[in-house]
Symmetry: C2
Subunit: 93 residues, 2 copies
């Protein structure tokens, strides 16, 4: 799984481009952010990527969750946004 790490200083349009690129190629991507500024940039990037991908007929959703990550010798709680195609997991039996 590709992981895009977002900082408070990341440009949301640049992150959106990265999300859209991975979504087109792999169909899913995880976006990770620590702290309010970074989480804000990450979610804005998903908003923008959704518009980019709509043009390709790709409908995305995101599943937000907390994950514990090790930064140096510290454990921090990150927000991970699992970006997926809306219907990726549909199975009709």
């Amino acid at each position: 799984m590709e992981l895009i790490k977002v900082a408070a200083t990341s440009r949301s349009t640049a992150v959106a481009g990265a999300i859209a690129g991975v979504m087109r190629e792999k169909g899913q991507v995880d976006v990770q952010a620590i702290g309010a500024g970074a989480v804000n940039q990450a979610i804005k990037a998903v908003c923008i990527a959704r518009v980019y991908l709509e043009e390709d007929g790709i409908d995305i959703v995101c599943v937000p969750m907390f994950v514990e990550v090790q930064i140096g010798d510290q454990e921090r709680t990150a927000v991970r946004l699992c970006v997926q195609r809306r219907w990726t997991d549909v199975e009709i039996s």
Copy 2:
């Protein structure tokens, strides 16, 4: 559609409880936030609500988008998180 407005000072667990309540009853809810602090609380609330609702067998996703809102005489850009059951819209013809 129910709309939950989140501020930077909102408690994410309280917002999560509200999201979970509306999701159980109506199956979808919009969560709206303006500014990095509020967006962070909103997304954290969705993370927590996801855990609450998993216990009920309800799998949620969120679709983030920008919306223009009028605050007094100013137009502001808000982030709206459309929280939905994962498969709400599935139609099999």
